[in-house]
Amino acid sequence: MTIAHRQLSAYSRATPDASSAADVRSGPVWTEAIIASEHEIRASLAQYLGRLWRYGIVLSRQRDVADDLVQATCVRALERASQFTSGTRLDRWLFSIMHSIWLNEVRSRRIRMGNGFVDADLTLSFDGEHETETHVTANQVLRQVNELPEAQRTAVFLAYVEGLSYREVAEVLDVPIGTVMSRLATARAKLAEHADPDVKAKQMKGGK
C-alpha cells in the first residue's frame, strides 16, 4: 500500500512550543521579516474566518466555543507568523493550529472540569416551513456526520467537506496516515448502514 510509505512532512511548526514568544527576535533584520509575515497573515486570516468557525463548530458543536476557538487560533497564528512556511497552504496550517488548541487546551480542560459536551443540535438551517428537498437531504447528512464520534467526524469533515488529501488530514490531526484511513473507513461503514441504497449523491467532494 503505497500511500502509507509517504513520509509525512514534519508539522513541528504547528506543535505547541512554550518558548516561542519572545526569544528569537533580536536584530533589526529579523524584526522586519516578522513584521512582513505577521501583516501578511493578518490580512489573509480575514478570508478564512468563516471556514475556521465552521471547523470550530464541527469540533465543539457549540457556537460560543467556536467563536472563542477562532479567536484563540488567530492569536496563535499571529504569534507564530514567523513559523509559517510561505508557499504552503495557510488554511491547512490554521486548521492544525485550531485542532491543537482544541485538543490540548480546550477539550481536555472541559472534560476535566466536568462540563462534558452539550449535544447541541446543529439545526442551523433557517427555513422551517419552506424546506426544499435539497435542504432536507443536507440536514440529514449534517445530522449523520454530527452523530459520528469526534475523531471520525473531524476526519470526514476535513476530507470530504474541506477537500483535504489523506496526507493533509493526517498533518492537521497530527496522526499517522493509517489512522486517517481507518477513521474514514469506519465512518463510511457507519454512514453506509444508514444510507438509502437507491440514493447516491452526485457531488461529494467539494474543496478540490
Binding site: T31, R54, R63, L78, L142, Y166, A201
Partner: protein
C-alpha cells in the same frame, strides 16, 4: 478457489481509499480488478459506496451562518504585537493567549470585556443582524420575483409570524409605499423564532424587515452598514427590529420610521 478469492478481500480502508481516489496506479488497478472479478469484493464496495453523500453541500449553510462580522471585529481587535515594546512583549502576549484560551472553557460572554474588545461590541444583539444581513445578501430579485402577491396569503403569513413572535402585524403597518411585500415567514436564529418580511424594491432589489424577541429594552433607531447594505435597527419593550436593503440610508430611515410608528400605534 473461493478461499483464494477471500484471501484477496481488500480491507475497508483500501476500498474507501479507492473510492476517494487516494490510491496510486498499481494499487488502484488491483482493487479495480478485484471489484470486477470478485462478487464479495464488489458487494462490499457497493455497500461502502452508499456512504457517498453531498457532504460539501450539507456543510455550506454553516459557512453562510458564520458570524462573520463578529469574527472580523475580533480579528481587527487583536493587538499588533510586533509594534509593542519588545521588553514587555513576551509577557503581555503570553498573557493574552492565556486569556483567549481561558475564555474558551469559561465560555461566558461577559468576560470578553477583559480582553478589551470594546470596538467589537460583542453583545449578542448584534449577532442576529449579522446573520440576517449575510442571509439577505444571498437574495437576488429573482429569489422573490415569482412569489404570489395576494393580500390574503400575506395576511395569513403575517398572522403566523406574529403568532410566533407574540405581536400583532397588520398588513397595513408593515406595507412600504411603492415597494411590494413578497413574503412573510418564520425563520430561526439560535433556536428562537426570527420573523422575516421580504420586499422587492423595483429599484434597489430585495429588502427585509426582520423581527426577533428581545428583552434589551426600547432603543431608538440607529443605522449601520452590513454586506454592502444599509440597516436601520431599533427595539421596543419586547422586540428587536431591523430594516435592511440596498436603498440609501435616508430612504431606509424614512421607511423604518413609517413602520415603527405604525407598529407602535
Amino acid at each position: 478457489m473461493v478461499d483464494l478469492k477471500h484471501a484477496e478481500m481488500p480491507s475497508d480502508e483500501m476500498l474507501v481509499a479507492f473510492l476517494d481516489g487516494e490510491l496510486d496506479g498499481e494499487e488502484r488497478a488491483r482493487i479495480d480488478r478485484l471489484i470486477k472479478i470478485d462478487e464479495a469484493v464488489a458487494a462490499r464496495y457497493e455497500f461502502l459506496s452508499r456512504s457517498e453523500m453531498a457532504f460539501y453541500d450539507a456543510f455550506q449553510p454553516l459557512l453562510e451562518n458564520a458570524p462573520t462580522a463578529k469574527l472580523e471585529a475580533i480579528l481587527g481587535g487583536l493587538p499588533a504585537s510586533i509594534t509593542d515594546d519588545p521588553a514587555s512583549r513576551g509577557m503581555s502576549r503570553r498573557g493574552f493567549m492565556a486569556a483567549a484560551i481561558g475564555l474558551v472553557f469559561v465560555g461566558v460572554a461577559a468576560d470578553r470585556g477583559f480582553l478589551a474588545f470594546k470596538q467589537s461590541s460583542s453583545d449578542h444583539d448584534d449577532d442576529w443582524r449579522a446573520v440576517v444581513a449575510e442571509y439577505l445578501s444571498l437574495y437576488t430579485p429573482e429569489t422573490l420575483a415569482n412569489l404570489d402577491s395576494d393580500e390574503q396569503s400575506h395576511t395569513a403569513q403575517l398572522q403566523n409570524v406574529g403568532d410566533a413572535l407574540g405581536l400583532s402585524l397588520p398588513l397595513q403597518a408593515v406595507s412600504l409605499p411603492g415597494i411590494p411585500l413578497k413574503r412573510a415567514q418564520v425563520l430561526q436564529y439560535d433556536g428562537k423564532p426570527l420573523g422575516q418580511i421580504a420586499y422587492l424594491d423595483p429599484e434597489h432589489g430585495p429588502m427585509a424587515l426582520c423581527i426577533v424577541q428581545s428583552s434589551s429594552g426600547p432603543r431608538s433607531p440607529q443605522t449601520e452598514r452590513r454586506h454592502g447594505m444599509n440597516v436601520v435597527y431599533w427595539s421596543d419593550q419586547a422586540h428587536g427590529y431591523m430594516l435592511i436593503g440596498r436603498n440609501t440610508a435616508d430612504e431606509l430611515n424614512d421607511l423604518a420610521e413609517g413602520v415603527r410608528t405604525a407598529l407602535a400605534a
